[in-house]
């Protein structure tokens, strides 16, 4: 049986009158894990509670099989973290900073310095590593944050919005690096993002959070395969004829205000609907399948968040 990397039971975090995490129950195995949700959903709070950067209000959590709150140092020795905001040590140059971070995790100076250079190479940083961090661009800072998070060779690394502020090229490069951490080097990665596309590209497991609650936790494959069995048919004419034919087959159907005909065919594939259209000799202009469970749940999370706002 694969050991769990994250295990929480009724994990809650309250800030004053606001409930940032509301009884989170999770059992997560190793892999590349996407923590998805709109801004303010509780993703960062969840990470910070696991890392003990914030005290837990109630419930319990285990990280890498160790109780959070009891074995802080031991846990953090095996964990890496890149915070969302800039938090470097002023006045230091890049390689000095990464070396220092490695030493803080207990690496001897020589090993720390060597690994700092290796990790800066890995993160794609060149000679700019000898410059003061204060002069770095956002992209360089994101790379530096990644290097400091993995310099001590952690078993799990938490990345909080790793592509924030990056241009598309920079985003792609960072996502490729993050992707390789699990797929090539077997370091469990937890990526928090409000961008569905980022998580979709690099994660195998998805956790969607909204208003401090977990809406869904499943593999990306399952979520993508799961559809509601509905589609929108775009036809130029004969809307009512199509509707009648669908109702005859007991498929709920309605004509939307934009003229599209929404059909709930309740099948895994679109073939029955295509057959019906063929029988009616009706050529659709477009056939839009229903969103998969990942998209649908993400939209649901956004709606919950907007409703709360």
């Amino acid at each position: 049986m694969v050991p769990l990397v994250i295990e929480t039971q009724g994990l809650s975090k309250v800030f004053g009158s606001q409930r940032a995490l509301d009884g989170v129950d999770l059992k997560v195995g190793p892999g590349s894990i996407g923590l998805l949700g709109p801004n303010g959903a509780g993703k960062s709070t969840f990470m910070k509670c696991l890392l003990q950067l914030l005290p837990i209000t109630s419930g319990s959590a285990k990280l890498l099989g160790r109780e959070v709150g009891l074995e802080g140092r031991e846990i953090r020795k095996r964990v890496g973290y890149t915070p969302e905001q800039d938090c470097h040590i002023p006045g230091m140059v890049g390689c000095e900073y990464v070396t220092y971070c490695a030493q803080l995790c207990g690496l001897p100076f020589r090993a720390a310095r060597q690994r700092a250079h290796e990790l800066l190479d890995f993160a794609g940083m060149g000679q700019e590593r000898y410059r003061k961090i204060d002069t770095y661009s956002t992209g360089m800072k994101q790379r530096l944050k990644l290097a400091q998070a993995i310099v001590h060779d952690p078993e799990i690394v938490f990345l909080d919005e790793p592509t924030n502020g990056l241009d598309p090229k920079g985003q792609k490069q960072i996502l490729e690096l993050v992707h390789s951490l699990w797929h090539t080097y077997k370091i469990t990665v937890v990526v928090s993002s409000h961008l569905l596309n980022d998580v979709d590209q690099i994660c195998e497991q998805i956790i969607i959070i909204a208003r401090g609650r977990v809406l869904v936790h499943d593999t990306l494959e399952n979520l993508k395969a799961r559809r509601r069995g509905a589609a929108e048919v775009v036809v130029a004419e004969r809307h009512q004829e199509l509707r009648a034919a669908c109702e005859q087959r007991l498929w709920p159907c309605e004509v939307l205000p934009n003229g599209h005909v929404k059909v709930e065919h309740r099948c895994d594939s679109l073939n029955p609907l295509l057959n019906l259209l063929h029988e009616l000799k009706l050529a659709p202009l477009e056939l839009i399948p229903s969103p998969n469970a990942l998209e649908e749940t993400f939209v649901q999370a956004l709606e919950i968040s907007h409703a709360a706002a």
């Binding site: 040590i89 803080l104 207990g106 090993a111 990790l119």
Partner: protein, 331 residues
């Protein structure tokens, strides 16, 4: 294409212990302090002062033996003075426990009290590098996400402040004690001056602990460098101005000055009054001069406001710890 392997490599070495990690924090903070050019100049100045103290101890040591360089040099100007010096040194040679021990105790009290001002000034310059910058740049989050706790972080910063005080205060004074006695005419000077060194170490450790904690508290008060530095110097200067005025109005107000508290603690540790009484009663000629000290001054020297100084220092430490507890958090 890169010329060398840039793939990720796992590391399976042995991790260093907790104290090494704390030491890394201390060393890093101290290095950051010493990156300031003015700070380096100040440290050099403190060690130059140590040379001055050594020279003074050498001169006094020479006065305590007959036919020393200094006595002969005095004789070149005034043969009468040379005769007097010879008489004095003969007496001093017979009572080394008074001459060396008392003299050095008095001297080290003054060295300690004067040099601490330079150390306080240096600490003011170092305050932003202790905690303020980490608060401003959110570096606390990075520390908290590594294998060190908040306590380890604070211990490292405390060691950095303590280290700076050793560099600017206790280190030069102890070096002066060693060099001064090494250049003394007799090895017994080391033995007879042990009390002076002991008092200096006790006072130094107490004052450095208090100062380090206060500096950390002030450093954590704000995340703007100018604010914390300004607060430190304001507290020091206002305290220094208030203390002599408060003596005639509200004596307890004097304890708002940490410098005043250190003076009282130093008087208690060095037992300066006892030394002055011994000197008055035993040393010929100079004893008569010391009898001219005003009774109020003798009273202040023999009965320092030690309890008030200790209570005030403890209250200040408690306030500093409260500030650290409230402010030094990742969020």
């Amino acid at each position: 294409m890169p010329l060398h392997d840039i793939s990720y490599k796992h590391w399976d070495g042995v991790h260093l212990g907790l104290w090494s990690r704390r030491l890394v924090i201390a060393r890093n903070s101290l290095t950051a302090c010493l990156r300031n050019r003015w700070m380096r100049h100040l440290v050099v100045l403190c060690w130059v002062a140590a040379l001055g103290m050594t020279a003074l101890l050498f001169m006094i040591g020479q006065l305590l033996v007959a036919d020393s360089i200094v006595v002969r040099w005095v004789g070149n100007f005034n043969p009468g003075l040379q005769t007097f010096a010879r008489m004095l040194t003969t007496w001093l040679e017979q009572h080394p426990e008074i001459s060396v021990s008392t003299t050095q105790n008095l001297l080290f009290y003054f060295f300690g009290i004067y040099q601490i001002r330079v150390a306080i000034f240096a600490l003011g310059m170092a305050i932003p590098m202790l905690i303020t910058r980490d608060l401003a740049s959110n570096a606390i989050i990075i520390y908290s996400s590594k294998a060190v706790s908040r306590g380890d972080y604070l211990l490292g910063k405390f060691a950095a402040a303590f280290g700076l005080l050793i560099l600017t205060w206790l280190g030069p004074i102890c070096a002066a004690w060693f060099m001064g006695n090494l250049l003394a005419p007799d090895w017994r000077f080391f033995w007879h001056s042990r009390a002076a060194l002991g008092h200096m170490l006790v006072f130094g450790l107490i004052a450095m602990t208090i100062l380090s904690l206060l500096a950390m508290g002030v450093s954590a008060c704000a995340s703007k460098e100018k604010s914390t530095t300004g607060l430190w110097y304001t507290w020091w200067i206002v305290g220094g101005v208030v203390a002599p005025i408060a003596l005639h109005t509200q004596p307890w107000l004097r304890h708002l000055s940490f410098n005043f508290n250190f003076e009282q603690i130093a008087l208690g540790v060095f037992r300066l009054g006892d030394d002055l009484n011994t000197a008055r009663e035993n040393i010929p000629v100079f004893g008569d001069m010391l009898r001219q000290i005003r009774p109020q001054t003798m009273e202040a020297l023999t009965s320092p406001a030690l309890a008030g100084a200790v209570i005030a220092s403890l209250l200040m430490i408690a306030a500093a710890i409260l500030v650290l507890h409230k402010r030094v958090r990742p969020e």
